[in-house]
Amino acid sequence: MRAVISTVLGFGLAMGTASAGSAHHSFAMFDRSQKIQIEGTVKEFQWVNPHTWVQIMAPHHGVTTEWSIEGRSPNVLSRRGWSRTTLKPGDKVTLTVYPLKSGKPGGAIISVRFADGRVLNADTPTAVDTNEEGPR
């Protein structure tokens, strides 16, 4: 298990910058100039409003720690290919997140990579641009 920090330049699609904005609260407490990869074991996936939470056991300063990773609502994610069983306790996954500016073991989820290499995006804009998109 490891944590990798990388700086990204293009984060225009980050939460809160889509035209419609972030609904429930400001995401200003997250550092959207950085993406962290958290590789660990899912403890719990809370499929609840207003926001989902992934509780994941992963290293924090070298010590296995329970991270609290905030995500978009079940309403948004269910229209983006997620469901309440997308993540299950015991799943080995790598989360890409915007970390908390405070340095505490938390962040906002961008995507998840499963053990089989499959990647699911969690951070696409909610607004849709045309009527051509199929049902979500």
């Binding site: 809160g16 889509a18 035209s19 419609a20 904005g21 972030s22 609904a23 429930h24 609260h25 400001s26 200003a28 407490m29 997250f30 809370q46 609840v48 409003n49 207003p50 926001h51 989902t52 939470w53 509780q55 609290s68 905030e70 609502s73 079940p74 309403n75 948004v76 269910s78 229209r79 908390l100 405070s102 505490k104 938390g106 962040g107 906002a108 804009p125 909610t126 607004a127 849709v128 641009d129 045309t130 009527n131 049902p135 979500r136």
Partner: protein, 251 residues
């Protein structure tokens, strides 16, 4: 209550003949568009707070000194939305879907976000006494100007924010929303004019487009269930992302 007066005159004019009363409104009713359907906000919507030409304004161009002071140090944990409290106009761009249900004299907007609704009364009534009746989502009355539904919203309770940046809304806030179908009924264009003498130095506008998505359905959204961002109700061991003392300085 100019509109109520106009209705009264119309009714009086059509009163003498039952036949005339049937004929006259028929053409008016036929001309009224039906906004019913499930609407999803589009990326074609404008960002930010706009002037009357829909050009984006900088905070100093539209906030009063009180508005600038209120937003200088944002405290996200105090956002009414982080405590699951709804607001207009904030719930309009959502970004969650809105089901509009229209019938004579009333138009309901059912918001997926927070599973709340508003009823726009289009039967000629006015707003209640603003001292007695104050609401998170305001009190809304509407009338038609040609093909456009014009909604007047007042009676705010002064407890909501205009947006997540922390601009408060006072009890004197007043909205005029204009809803027009476009693109053969597949788009809904919404322009909102916002006035608030306490926090806004000039009227500001919002410009939104919605796509008709009747293949979607409204989902449940009950914010209280897992609200770990309500710093006043946090549970032991599983913190949210917000802390009461968080402060975001204005740029």
């Amino acid at each position: 209550m100019r509109f109520a007066a106009a209705i009264a005159i119309l009714l009086a004019a059509s009163a003498p003949s039952a036949l005339a009363a049937q004929e006259a409104p028929a053409s008016t009713v036929a001309a009224t568009p039906d906004l019913s359907g499930l609407w999803v906000v589009s990326n074609r919507s404008s960002r930010g707070n706009l002037d009357e030409n829909l050009k984006e304004l900088k905070p100093a161009e539209f906030l009063t000194p009180a508005g600038l002071e209120a937003t200088a140090r944002l405290r996200p944990a105090l956002d009414p939305s982080a405590q699951c409290l709804p607001a207009i106009p904030r719930h309009i761009p959502g970004p969650y879907p809105i089901e509009i249900v229209q019938r004579p004299g009333r138009i309901a907007m059912l918001f997926e976000w927070d599973t709340v609704f508003r009823v726009i009364y289009s039967d000629g009534r006015g707003h209640p006494d603003p001292e007695e009746d104050q609401r998170y989502m305001g009190h809304a009355v509407g009338h038609w100007e040609g093909e456009t539904l014009v909604v007047d919203t007042a009676n705010f309770n002064g407890k909501t924010w205009l947006e997540g940046s922390g601009i408060p809304m006072s009890t004197q806030a007043h909205l005029v929303e204009r809803y027009t179908l476009e693109d053969d009924g597949k788009s809904l264009h919404v322009v909102i004019r916002i006035e608030d003498p306490v926090y806004l130095s000039r009227p500001v506008y919002r410009n939104y487009f919605f796509n008709l998505r009747n293949d979607w359905e409204i989902k449940e959204y009950l914010c209280a269930e897992g609200n770990r961002d309500n710093v006043f109700q946090q549970r032991e061991g599983q913190p949210g992302a917000l802390e009461l003392d968080d402060v975001i300085e204005a740029e």
